[in-house]
Symmetry: C2
Subunit: 208 residues, 2 copies
Amino acid sequence: MQSRTPASRTGRPRSAAADAAILAATREALVELGWSKLTLGDVASRAGVAKTTLYRRWAGKNELVVDAVAELFDELELPDRGSLAADVEGVVLQFAALLSRPEARSGLMAVVAESTLDEALRERIRVSIVERQKRLVHTGRARAQHRGELPPEPDPDEAARTVGLIFDMVAGAVVHRTLVSGQPVDEEWLHGFTRVLLSGLVTAGTGP
Amino acid sequence: MQSRTPASRTGRPRSAAADAAILAATREALVELGWSKLTLGDVASRAGVAKTTLYRRWAGKNELVVDAVAELFDELELPDRGSLAADVEGVVLQFAALLSRPEARSGLMAVVAESTLDEALRERIRVSIVERQKRLVHTGRARAQHRGELPPEPDPDEAARTVGLIFDMVAGAVVHRTLVSGQPVDEEWLHGFTRVLLSGLVTAGTGP
DNA sequence: CGTATTACGCTACGGCTCGTAGCGAAAGCG
DNA sequence: CGCTTTCGCTACGAGCCGTAGCGTAATACG
């Protein structure tokens, strides 16, 4: 999180409950107010803490929202559904469900927008959110290779690049569908996406 | 744009030059300040107009930035490069170049974030930005079908769905790569993406 | 148990931005 | 030349920001 505990052994410790209350209040405020109308004073009163307490832990709105949103991504899992196609559909559905929540929608896009002029914030997003999701792609890919559905990749650099590519294609498509195009990830879109991702545009005319 | 000219024939007409100056000043302020620190008073003084003039034309920051960003997408074109793969790479490169500009990065993501709680803004984005880009997918797809690279699709509904799917996959991947993952669309990524999009994950191991 | 140290809640403050109102001047239209 | 609308300017109350200062609460240490 935000707390750096390098050398502070003595004194009153920071309340962990306050941390949780503040992050929950931030998500609640994101749902009701959105990013631009969210004020730190409002978050503080929702959480039942003083505004100064909030400023002691986070530098500003950006950092606070990144942490509040990052917690949401801990819920993502990748159960083994038996095939690559089923695994892809599973993770897409989970990600789409996550992005259907207003706190994720407005929070995620807002901090990404802010990160364009803030290198530290971009790094914070990369560590807290991006890398946290990539592990799903890693395990799914490893499973598919173990099943023989995907060829093994001996070169670790090439493997990392491929994982990044797949991650951007899957997460990017879902994000763009739900947030930019503003349409739901229904079953029809889900199957179409999986078919194109696995078989490609050329070979996937109208499907099986 | 924002101007509704249903019935106003008499009186002093609005300055078209002021419109252009305001939108240009908005993009300039987006580059230097980003979304959150951009103030309408600053935009007004950059554009050389009074703040009140700005408020007479746009309801607020959101609507202004949507219009300012939408103009950027007019630059996108789709020259015929002879093959589907080349056309895809061409449009991806153009889109990536657009997203490398700070005014597009911060502006686009910010208004998308704001649109999660604002239905009117979402519709404005859909009309001004999303549909404006889909035409590229339409023409590219029609070209590929004419070349025989893609099978024809007689059902117009199914064709529209496919265009939407491809659009979300292409634009989404580029957006996610550049803004969320925060890495450049270099030649290696470009070729990998095109290969997976056209041939699929399964058939595209490490191929040519 | 007492003391040092840190976190906490509260209040108050200057500074900035917002969005609007009111005014006189300017610019087209008939 | 009048009518109408836009324009630039100034001013205003309201709200939020981020910080300072203070007294109090909670823990670690001796």
